[in-house]
């Protein structure tokens, strides 16, 4: 029998939100078609590190396992991405895995992306259509408009663009590139456009659009290929117009 192939993983771990991170190496038996999640499951089954010590299994979050929920985002070999679509066969070894430390780390690879949901609330990233009576059908959208909005709607709030952005860090309050795409998404909707000034106004509040420094990492890193930098430029144009209108009409 040939020698058993193994996979080497070096994982940055952290026991709780306040403790210091540390690295731990694992060697697990190779199987075909594994992804990072199934490698973690292997460790869960047999939680022994490379030194042969029994350790607590690695904690992570995952849900859909098909790159649509965004829960399993982490930094794999230097790049923030989804663990479920990170195929072991395509990764250079040892595979280095760490949490997206732009966010508060809760434990091991679990981070708190709550700030993204706060940002969505701040900019009112929805279309208010609740009422006590039937509002009738909404206005029609052209195919072109709806195609564009479809691209923006792919955002899964995974946090990869925040991890990639040099301007999202402890000394800045930037809400992150994703939020610009979301404002663009709802402002571009014919019904959503009724509240577009409210969203634009919130978007240029503290930690808003102006914090973008055009490194364009977001558009490179986005797993869904969302044209974030185009959205940013569109919203730059909209907010220039918005501010001029506001200042000239007091």
């Amino acid at each position: 029998m040939s020698e058993q192939r193994t996979i080497r993983l070096i994982v940055t771990r952290q026991d709780d939100p306040d403790s210091r991170p540390y690295q731990e190496e694992f060697r697990i038996p190779y199987r075909q078609n594994m992804n990072v999640i199934s490698a973690f499951m292997e460790i869960q089954r047999n939680p022994v590190n490379a030194a042969g010590e029994k350790v607590r299994p690695i904690q992570w979050e995952s849900n859909c396992l098909e790159e649509v929920c965004g829960a399993c985002s982490m930094v794999i070999n230097g790049r923030p991405r989804q663990a479920c679509s990170a195929l072991i066969d395509k990764l250079e070894q040892p595979i280095r895995i760490s949490p997206m430390n732009t966010f508060p780390v809760i434990r091991d690879l679990i981070v708190d992306r709550g700030r993204m949901f706060d940002a969505l609330k701040r900019v009112k990233a929805w279309i208010p259509i609740d009422g006590s009576h039937d509002l009738g059908p909404g206005p029609r959208q052209s195919q072109e408009e709806s195609d564009w909005r479809y691209e923006l709607s792919k955002c899964m709030t995974c946090g990869v663009c925040l991890q990639a952005c040099p301007n999202v860090n402890n000394s800045s309050d930037f809400m992150g590139p994703f939020i610009v795409g979301q404002v663009n998404l709802f402002n571009a909707h014919p019904t959503g456009a009724l509240n577009k000034d409210e969203r634009t106004s919130a978007l240029i509040g503290e930690g808003g659009l102006q914090e973008c420094g055009n490194s364009q990492n977001c558009v490179q890193a986005c797993p869904k290929g969302i044209p974030l930098t185009t959205s940013i430029a569109i919203m730059n144009r909209e907010s220039t117009r918005f501010v001029l209108k506001k200042w000239l009409s007091f």
């Binding site: 230097g78 790049r79 701040r122 990639a164 040099p166 301007n167 999202v168 860090n169 000394s171 800045s172 106004s201 919130a202 240029i204 509040g205 503290e206 930690g207 808003g208 659009l209 102006q210 914090e211 973008c212 420094g213 055009n214 490194s215 364009q216 990492n217 490179q220 890193a221 044209p227 930098t229 185009t230 940013i232 430029a233 569109i234 919203m235 730059n236 144009r237 909209e238 907010s239 220039t240 501010v243």
Partner: protein
Amino acid sequence: MSTQRSFFNRRLHSLLGVIPVGFFLIEHLYTNYHITGGKESFVESVNWLWGIPILLVLEVLFIFLPLMYHGIYGLYIAFRADNNVSQFGTFRNIMFMLQRVTGVITLIFVLWHIWQTRVQVAIYGWTSTQLADQTVAIMSNNIWLIVYMVGLLCAVFHFCNGMWSFLVSWGVTVGPRSQTISTYIWGAVFVAMSFVGIRTILAFASLG
């Protein structure tokens, strides 16, 4: 409701970088380029500039103060970024990093340059001919020659890449295609302005 103060500050920073600071850079390079036509030509264009009424007020109001705002607020922007070129070695991310590095170098260089020329003119009441001679003396020193070349290249890079960014930040170049074309245009402007600047510096040096 959050305030929009930082949006205002950031846009003002962007605007002042072009008008008047960027315009002044172009004007400055143009005036100094006269040295390539000989000392007299340079002296003549300096005299013309010095003939502008209330020059000092204009200099302070339309060059120095905007420059200081752009420089100081720029430092705040530069030092808040967490550069990650080692993970994202993409062209734009490298430009992002260089924009901050050249900005800091340019600020230090420009402050020194103002001290070494404009302030000395004010203190000693140099004539334009004396100014030309002093500049020749500075450029004849190899160390200063290199310092000025580095300062010039940083300033020109910062201006050209800043213009690229300016056009995005004000929503002029929106799509990836227009942004790519803009990259080429500002790249060409960078080469042209660097050529003019370096030739000027060498022309001063050759008179020494």
